[in-house]
Amino acid sequence: MIAAPLIIATQTVVNEQDVVTPFEQTLLVGLVFVIMFGLGAGLTPRDFRLAIRRPWGLVIGFVTQFGIMPLLAYLLVIGVLFQLPREYALPVAIGALLMGCVPAGTTSNIFTYFSKGNLALSVIMTTNSTLWAILMTPLMLALYGGLIFDADSELQIPVLNIVVTLATLLIPVVAGMILRKYSANIGAVMELLGGFFGLFFIVFLMATWVPRNWALLTSTPWQTYLVAIGLGLFGIAIAYGIARAIKLHPMNARTIGLETGIQNGPLAIAIVLLTFSGSPDIGLILIVPALYSLFIVIVSTVVTFWFRRANTAEEQKIPNLL
């Protein structure tokens, strides 16, 4: 079981050009900018005041987002991924850790809507975690990265680069907020485009990236798949379980589950592209963020169906209040 991936890892020479073409790279980063811009265009200072005034939503979102997910990613890395040879597992682990440490994705809002969750809570949690990400994502990466990589190891997580990347990606969020203040029309259009591109991103991945990297995907060991899929699935399950255990309204528990498990995949990919550009390991680093982005759509869809069925008996009507 261990021998096969070893061969793959040594035989498959993956480089940046193969995995992501320069055209794709530019397009993806552009898309992430549009998505982040759209996120900002939906925000007002009022939303921040609301979040501060209702701290428990913030606290729960914070704890699940930056408590559960990075820890889960770390556990999956050491428990599953490290069954594989280190020269393969270490770069993949960077991607996996990063995937666990990025903030929530805007697609969580769509799935929350379809699973009859609390949309307002979902939006606030996404917003909160995105803003906290500039501090928490590097912090968590440094913490868990430190546990995985020796200080003198050749491969390191460039935490500072990631901070810079995140800060860069927050520019469109702020720009979106400002623009929206001056023109509600442009804001609404950007918001619409942002949501649209969020989905387009995944379709794009499926349509172009998957066939071209078919060989890579078929030769990827199951452990990597387990990490990529498990991160979303277990993330949703654990957060939902905790929310139910502390007796939150099922509607809010569903929201928190989806919000926690659904990470900002496009953001993670953009961070990899922007910080590891030129690194020979970029292909392996990208694999978990890419697989995660693909499978989270399927995982979330299944979970949404299950939520809808399991919860209809429990409640007849959803109040608008938290």
Partner: protein
């Protein structure tokens, strides 16, 4: 009969009689406002996602004149011809209605959600020749135009007068995402085309208003009335101008000329928003924020975020819905000055909570379609009595009549009758019903009310909604108000059902929220504050209550539902929830 004890409670500086009208027709009122506030924004339409378009007073003036010219010159309509207008709140609405009035024609406001059957009745009854309709609902046209005298259809798009790119996006979404644009299978003129032709035909010397005065018909406003057959209340220019000024006079300086931003979430085709928001606030130079649909209430979020709303009008259901929205409660509008409630009884619990959350007054008024509509309201800046409909507006007399036709004593219930310049001239082509409803110049409202010593009126209930339990009168309003104050009750509707033992019995329909009460708890709560015969015999929990276009709970539908099937629940009507 000239005893008006309420005059003592008019706020200082408010004249007791309506001041002499500065103009006799609505077009004159419109022209004055357009001259005075020319460059200010008159209307802004705000979509649920924040997309918007605006028109200034000068633009409204120019466009409505062009539309008037189109009606008169291009279509050859005569003075007094009826033009049906059927659209939700949007920028085209004021242009079309002001255009109809400037053309000397008569406006027939029509609910856009009407079925073909209802449209046919209203258009045939009014004799409408032209229909201006929103394209989203044009699928009913072939059936309607065949059965009525409608000879010309003008279609309006929801994003009319929006910036072109935004209008294009909205149209794409409507067409390909919502699929809400049916194909239009009758000959029709797009609104922009009508405006273009109107501009060409327009001549400055044309006077379409020759012979139009205060007594001329301005609108046929259809109302169900007590019989259930929809009939047109004939509202004259004088009715509408008087009522606008009566209302504004009583509000004194609380509506600041040229400075207000009013949220118009109620449909303009309904008389409340028509007179108060469209005409009243336009006259005052306000900016009207038009919301096409206030349901779900989250549709109003962007309007509150993006505009400095200073006034809002609404019905109990709307205020209650907003108070159940987290975003509203935790970040109430900062610039709000006041709110006006009408259309249905404003629950005391809602009024108190609204004041607490927004920190601004809310005043309840009362009126009917037949009275243009405002008859009474609580004087802002004077004594406000919650639970009452306040005191009559200037130059209005109101009395409560007992069954025998004598004036009821203070505190004694009787049918509310009213007299004033805002009372309609009658029902269109229905002399019998007119004679029944207007007796010696007094309009009989069909509402049971009582007056207190200060001259404040309280509506006890609709005459026809009264429930007779073992010979005792039960007024659903009272029971609803009591149940609404219970935790876990979002909305409640109370009706009377036939009952073998007691003649009729009381049933409550409740839309619950967490913590959901049980039927037993509701009944126990009622026993704890209501006489035994008023306590509901049965309680039903439902997802939603049937409502009129402005959100009034329709008791007759609840009653019909309950009577047609004994085991009926109306849970299927919960479709709009989520």
């Amino acid at each position: 009969m000239t005893d008006r004890p309420w005059l003592a409670h008019y706020p200082a500086g408010v004249e007791h009689e309506l001041v002499a009208l500065p103009f006799s027709t609505l077009p004159e009122l419109v022209a004055r406002a357009c001259g005075e506030y020319a460059d200010q924004i008159a209307f802004t339409q705000c979509m649920p996602n924040g997309m918007n378009g605006s028109l200034t007073y000068a633009q409204v003036d120019e466009l409505s004149s062009a539309f008037a010219a189109y009606l008169r010159e291009e279509l050859g309509l005569a003075h007094g011809a009826r033009v049906a207008v059927q659209m939700p709140n949007c920028l085209a609405y004021p242009v079309v209605t002001f255009g109809v009035l400037k053309a000397g024609c008569v406006l027939v406001n029509t609910n856009p959600l009407y079925t073909a059957r209802e449209m046919i009745h209203q258009f045939s009854d009014s004799g409408a020749e032209v229909l201006v309709i929103i394209d989203m609902f044009a699928d009913r046209l072939p059936e309607v135009t065949k059965a009525t005298g409608i000879s010309r259809v003008v279609t309006v798009r929801i994003a009319e007068f929006f910036p072109p790119v935004i209008a294009g996006i909205i149209r794409l979404v409507q067409k390909w995402w919502n699929r809400s644009l049916p194909s239009i299978d009758v000959e029709h003129t797009p609104f922009t085309e009508a405006i273009r032709r109107g501009r060409e035909a327009h001549s400055a010397s044309a006077d379409y208003l020759a012979g139009v005065g205060a007594d001329s018909l301005a609108a046929l406003q259809y109302t169900g009335g007590t019989t259930g057959v929809s009939k047109g209340a004939m509202l004259t220019h004088g009715n509408l101008v008087s009522n606008t000024l009566q209302m504004l006079q009583m509000l004194g300086g609380h509506i600041r000329a040229g400075q207000e931003v009013v949220l118009t979430a109620l449909p303009l085709y309904h008389i409340f928003a028509f007179t108060v928001n469209l005409i009243g606030f336009f006259h005052m130079g306000a900016r009207n924020i038009l919301v096409p649909s206030p349901r779900p209430p989250s549709n109003l979020k962007r309007a509150f975020e993006n505009y400095r709303i200073t006034w809002t009008t609404g019905v109990n259901t709307l205020f209650n819905a907003l108070l159940n929205e987290r975003w509203f409660v935790e970040s109430p509008p900062k610039h709000l000055v006041g709110s006006a409630a009408g259309g249905m009884a404003l629950h005391q619990s809602v009024a108190e909570r609204w004041r607490e959350v927004t920190g601004t007054p809310i005043v309840e008024g009362y009126g009917l379609t037949e009275t243009s509509p405002v008859l009474t309201f609580n004087p802002l800046g004077g004594l406000v009595k919650d639970g009452t409909i306040g005191i009559p507006v200037p130059s209005t007399d109101i009395r409560c009549l007992t069954e025998s036709g004598t004036e009821a004593a203070v505190g004694e219930p009787g049918e509310l009758v009213a007299r004033g310049p805002q009372v309609m001239s009658g029902y269109w082509q229905r002399p019998d019903e007119t004679a029944e409803s207007i007796v010696d110049g007094w309009f009989r409202t069909g509402d049971i009310a009582e007056r207190d010593a200060d001259g404040y009126f309280t509506i006890v209930d609709r005459k026809k909604d009264m429930v007779l339990v073992s010979g005792f009168n039960v007024f659903p309003n009272e029971v609803e108000e009591h149940i609404a104050a219970m935790p876990g009750v979002l909305e409640v509707g109370v009706v009377g059902l036939p009952d073998e033992k007691t003649g009729e019995s009381v049933r409550a329909y409740i839309v619950p929220i967490d913590p959901k009460p049980t039927a037993e708890q509701v009944i126990a709560h009622c026993r704890d504050g209501l006489a035994a015969y008023k306590v509901p015999k049965s309680v039903r929990f439902v997802d939603e209550l049937p409502k009129s276009p402005i959100g009034k709970i329709l008791r007759r539908e609840l009653r019909a539902e309950a009577v047609t099937s004994a085991t009926a629940t109306i849970e299927t009507q919960g479709r709009e929830l989520s």
